[in-house]
């Protein structure tokens, strides 16, 4: 390939990539518009939140989630863009859509609850959308450098958001703690990335997976093994920090207590969802070699034509994917042999006879994830017991839920190892997506109630909620519903989420996942107590005599908002097929062989 061809390729690639990148561009544009309003002092005349809402809404229409997710993906329609930095598949579309939907709900929530005030609004929404942009990148990252940039892009605005309540010592302390922890974790992660990149000679995830597959043939000990393991663990540190997984969770309760409930909702939902998406990307990225370039997909065919007028990029693509294809062939043939062996369904649960090096990589990730999620889940639930502040309690509940949500990743990797990647593993990953979608409503609802009650009664202590059902029955019923859903009591949506996760764990049927299943089951019981305590305080305990009456009617805009967030939790049980299909379609392309 000569210089001319390279230039042509880059131009073509960028032109096509920008098309796939429209929602992110719109979000960026919105940020610029808001900053412009601030510069020209127009924020008094044009409400910033409307601009933000319009921008996010426009981005969502361009993201077109319902258009892509309703039908199973066309084989091979997943593709890389921006020269392999990002990847565009249904998983990207799902998370982009979910994050944007959350952004809409969140902007409405901040308007209902009144934080930020008019002066802060422009800064606040700029930061939120900036962070949102980073999160969208996290969901589509395909390159370790993009992963690092996306994590930082999502984190740095969060540090500022945590300290948004100006003049409050706790808030500033929370922001500082968050920033210091975040910087530390980012440093370690970057170090891990450099170790991996140095050893494998690339930062492009599929290339790295392909090199991994050839570098460490099973049975032999590679001299670089230690470096790779260390690098992998260090990258995991960064992810664990974003997930607030134990032992990198320390920032979470302090930040949640110090920051306002609105920021908590943002951190506990959007940031968690994006971190989980990234975890899946990294796990799949290192664990599989995709067969992306095999078939040229219809939706991208037009783009191909633009990008590739004279077949200029063919050579480049070929060079890049030669190695990948080679390994792929061997992997494919292995799976073929295995699948021909697995004829009677009785033997489906049988572990594979031979371990290839990617299986070893996956096994390593399974152990790390199982360990972290088991500890995170148990620790989060136990630590929540003694809490007296509702935001701190919900922080620990968030930590515990991060543990639950990591479980299906381990299940999915196990299913890939045991030789039925599709649709078994895809279903396991889809249970994660399902839970995340439910979790958006549960946690956003919980923090919305906390924020609105704070406005009504100026307190965030659990003991001050005593007997709330007498003075504010409607919102209490909603909050109780949300808490029961967080426990996972049927017929609420949280139950369905746990149900699909447990189903995935049982299907995986290996020792680590069964252990995880038992731990998950026990944790559901453990979690009961502290949620139930809040419910008890609100419904059974008598109200304190000296409390001024709490004014909170459901027939008001805040009331309607709370109801609107709670209703999906009740109604999902009636028919969750739609969401189930979407999540499954979003995951099918993740696993090669589709």
């Amino acid at each position: 390939m000569d210089y001319q061809q390279l230039i042509q390729y880059v131009i073509g690639d960028t032109a096509g990539s920008l098309r796939l990148f429209q929602p992110e561009l719109i979000v960026c544009g919105t940020i610029l518009v808001m900053l412009g309003l601030r510069v020209f002092n127009l924020t008094r005349r044009i409400p910033t939140w409307l601009v933000a809402l319009a921008g996010v809404g426009l981005a969502l229409t361009y993201a077109l989630p319902w258009h892509h997710l309703a039908t199973p993906p066309v084989p091979g329609s997943s593709r890389e863009f921006f020269t392999g930095m990002l990847v565009y598949d249904n998983f990207t579309i799902f998370f982009r859509g979910l994050l944007l939907v959350f952004a809409i709900l969140f902007i409405l929530f901040t308007q209902v609850s009144g934080i930020p005030d008019r002066d802060d609004a422009a800064d606040f929404y700029t930061l939120v959308l900036g962070s949102m942009f980073g999160m969208m990148l996290m969901a589509s990252a395909n390159h370790l450098l993009v992963i690092f940039l996306a994590v930082e892009m999502a984190s740095v605005p969060s540090y500022v958001l945590a300290g948004m309540l100006k003049g409050r010592r706790r808030s500033s302390e929370a922001a500082l703690k968050y920033a210091v922890y975040g910087a530390g974790a980012a440093g370690i992660m970057l170090y891990g990335i450099s170790l991996l990149a140095g050893t494998l000679g690339s930062c492009h995830l599929p290339t790295m997976a392909a090199r991994l597959a050839t570098l460490t043939p099973p049975g032999t000990s590679d001299p670089n093994l230690m470096v790779l393991v260390l690098g992998g663990l260090m990258v995991m540190v960064g992810l664990a920090f974003k997930l607030s997984a134990v032992p990198f969770h320390f920032w979470c309760p302090d930040v949640f207590e110090g920051a306002s409930a609105e920021v908590n909702a943002f951190l506990s939902v959007a940031s968690k969802a994006a971190a989980l998406a990234l975890l899946v990307r990294v796990a799949i990225g290192f664990g599989t070699v995709p067969n992306r370039q095999e078939v040229s997909p219809p939706p991208v065919a037009v783009y191909q034509a633009i990008q590739d007028p004279a077949g200029a990029s063919d050579q480049f693509q070929q060079e890049k994917s030669e190695l990948i294809r080679e390994v792929e062939m061997s992997e494919e043939s292995r799976t073929d042999i295995e699948q021909s062996k697995v004829e009677s369904p009785n033997q489906q649960m049988r572990p594979p006879d031979s371990l290839t090096s990617l299986t070893v990589v996956r096994q390593f990730m399974i152990y790390v994830i199982v360990l972290i999620s088991a500890i995170t889940c148990t620790f989060g639930n136990l630590a929540a017991y003694g809490q007296t502040n509702i935001k701190r309690l919900l922080a620990y509940s968030t930590i515990a839920h991060a543990g639950y949500m990591m479980m299906p990743v381990a299940a999915g990797l196990s299913l890939m190892n045991s030789g039925h990647p599709n649709p078994g593993a895809a279903e396991a990953f889809s249970s994660l997506l399902f839970y995340v979608a439910v979790y958006v409503f549960m946690n956003l609802g919980a923090f919305a109630v906390v924020a609105l009650l704070r406005n009504a009664m100026r307190s965030e202590e659990i003991s001050d909620y005593a007997g709330l059902i007498r003075s504010a029955p409607g919102v209490t019923v909603c909050f109780v519903t949300i808490l029961f859903s967080l426990i996972g009591v049927p017929p609420l949506a949280g139950f369905l989420g746990k149900f699909f996760i447990f189903e995935a764990l049982i299907k995986a049927n290996t020792a680590p996942t069964i252990a995880l299943l038992v731990i998950g089951g026990l944790n559901t019981a453990l979690a009961l107590y502290y949620y139930l305590r809040v419910i008890k305080v609100m419904t059974i305990d008598p109200p304190p005599a000296d409390r001024p009456p709490v004014e909170f009617s459901l027939v008001s805009i805040p009331g309607a908002y709370v109801v609107a967030i709670t209703l999906p939790l009740l109604l999902l049980m009636l028919d969750c097929n739609g969401l189930g299909t979407w999540t499954l379609n979003a995951c099918l392309q993740l696993i090669p062989g589709h």
Partner: protein, 575 residues
């Protein structure tokens, strides 16, 4: 109503309570009158519809094949499309569930009448929770799909938690929390067990079904994929965790006396009458058919646990000073009988055990109702504070004696039919079992009989101390309860008793129970014939597994006695 098919009636009986609960919430004006009227009408309608369904049930309990193995079956896809998952909205009745289903409706009706005047605080919430509980109870018995079953199973917890926690007595807070923690912890494990069953079936047949009859058929000995014993034991243990807490079996019963004592009268009645039966029902529905070999393996231990519950419950009941606590412990003892019958695995015993479960609902439901009436009048549950109430309240004493007789198994009443059958079946099992295991079973059977005697002792003792002897009333209650005076019965009598006897409303709450107590006592065949085939089907595999174990053990003993028994046999038969 005649033109409705049983399918529609069953669906209506599930929907009516929810509609009623919604109406109460919508039309709430803060006063009890409207809420309780709607609740009464709803429960009455539900009772009529449920009764109609129950009496349309085929008399011999069979001929259900044409309708998919269940009566009034409605089967619709629910969470079907996701990745081959086949969760269905499938409700229907079979012999196991039909009487529990009807009992739920009957007791709820009585409960509304019972709570008529004792609930002043937030009546609308109370009655709508009661109706939601009714929906959950009927649904759990009607569900034919594991996920649907579990949804209803857990759904019964939430209303009851609030019923105990808000309208309970002094220690309600602790009682409600303990109740919820115990039962939900157990049922999470049960759920994992059920999920494992579904996936084991999936690994065999490739069919991700949640249908209870399909799973029972596929994993039963006939279906061709019985699970290995060690897996059965794990599943049995997981399922037992939830059901044994619900029953409650002996060491796991500690939540029950507390919850019973602290719950409001309606809560106690439904808890004792229906919700404990969920455990018994769960064992019969899931444990025995899905894990027959594990049941056979654990059988002696299960029988010992049951009989320990019988004796322990009775002895602790004897020591109580609180009337509701006494009856709560009597429930532990009575449920021990039910489980003994179920685990004895002879057709007689199993029928007796399940009939006894229904009986216990009627008689203990009635007893708790009367305890509630006493509490309304005297605001005490202390046995020592009361005495000679028969003079004050002769009608109440009549009903009390009647329910006591039913509870201790007087011939002619329902308790006798159940206890006789299950003990006869137990003796049959004990004497059919030879070898060293037989002795243990005989001891169990004899101990169980002693439980009957103990039962008569504590119940009659309670009646004697509270209702007979010299009149004794707590101080300061002579003026009766404010709400009773409002009705103003017998005002023209100058020397009217300060505490009134039963009002028509209260009699109305007790009479339906009494009618069924007589009916089951005099004509148990009517009820037994409808449940016998389903019970037979559910327990047959476990009974066969037990028989096989016996035969194997006998053969082993033979081998031990006679080192080479097979050689001469071969020698004889070969020419």
């Amino acid at each position: 109503m005649m033109e409705f098919s049983p399918q529609h009636l069953l669906l209506w009986s599930l929907a009516l309570p929810l509609i009623g609960a919604g109406l109460i919430c919508l039309l709430n004006d803060g006063r009890p009158q409207r809420a309780r009227t709607i609740a009464l009408v709803t429960t009455l309608l539900t009772l009529l519809v449920a009764g109609r369904v129950a009496f349309m049930f085929p008399a011999n309990g069979i001929n259900l094949e044409s309708t998919g193995g269940a009566f009034a079956l409605t089967d619709a896809s629910w969470l079907g499309k996701i990745s081959g998952l086949d969760v269905r909205f499938s409700v229907g009745l079979d012999g196991l569930s039909v009487w529990f289903y009807a009992l739920s409706a009957l007791l709820s009706f009585c409960c509304v009448l019972l709570s008529w005047e004792s609930i002043h605080e937030r009546p609308a919430t109370f009655y709508s929770l009661l109706l939601m509980l009714l929906c959950g109870m009927m649904g759990v018995f009607a569900a034919r799909d594991i996920l649907l079953f579990y949804v209803f199973f857990e759904f019964t917890l939430i209303p009851l938690y609030f019923l105990i926690g808000i309208w309970g007595h002094e220690d309600r807070n602790y009682a409600a929390t303990k109740f919820f923690l115990f039962t939900l912890t157990g049922s999470v494990l049960t759920f994992l067990g059920l999920l494992t069953v579904v996936l084991v079936n999936f690994s065999h047949t490739g069919d991700l079904t949640f249908s209870i009859p399909k799973l029972t058929a596929a994993l039963g000995p006939v279906g061709g994929h019985p699970m290995p014993l060690h897996l059965q034991l794990w599943i049995f243990a997981a399922l037992t965790a939830g059901f044994a807490i619900k029953v409650p079996l002996f060491p796991l019963h500690t939540w029950l006396p507390l919850a019973h004592t602290q719950a409001p009268a309606a809560g106690s009645v439904l808890l004792a009458g229906v919700l404990l039966k969920l455990g018994t029902y769960g064992f019969a529905r899931f444990n025995l058919p899905l894990a027959p070999e594990a049941t056979a393996w654990l059988l002696p231990a299960l029988l010992w646990i049951s009989v320990a519950g019988i004796i322990y419950g009775a002895l602790v009941a004897l020591a109580q000073t609180d009337m509701k606590r006494l009856i709560a412990y009597s429930s532990v003892s009575h449920l021990g009988f039910c489980m003994l019958g179920l685990f004895a695995l002879t057709p007689l015993a199993v029928q007796g055990g399940m009939l006894q479960a229904v009986n216990h609902g009627l008689s203990t439901g009635g007893l708790f109702a009367i305890m509630g009436m006493i509490h309304d009048r005297y605001h005490t549950r202390e046995i020592s504070a009361l005495g000679g109430l028969a003079r004050r309240t002769p009608w109440m004493a009549l009903f009390m004696v009647f329910f006591t007789f039913s509870s201790i198994g007087l011939p002619g009443l329902n308790g006798f039919a159940g206890e006789f059958l299950l003990l006869a079946g137990m003796f049959q099992r004990a004497w059919m079992t030879t070898g060293p295991g037989g002795l243990g079973l005989k001891v169990i059977a004899v101990l169980a009989v002693s439980g009957v005697v103990l039962g008569a002792w504590y119940m009659l003792w309670l009646v004697q101390r509270v209702f007979f002897g010299p009149l004794r009333e707590p101080h300061g209650t002579g003026h009766g309860h404010g709400s009773h005076d409002e009705l103003g019965h017998d005002l023209k009598q100058p020397d009217r008793p300060l505490v009134r006897d039963l009002s028509l409303r209260e009699i109305g709450a007790l009479v339906p129970l009494a009618v069924f107590i007589f009916w089951i006592g005099l004509c148990p065949q009517f009820f037994l014939s409808r449940m016998a085939p389903a019970l037979q089907e559910a327990t047959q595999p476990a009974a066969a597994a037990w028989q096989a174990r016996q035969t194997n053990e006998a053969a082993d003993r033979q081998t031990a006695l006679n080192p080479r028994p097979s050689v001469p046999v071969v020698a004889e038969t070969s020419p």
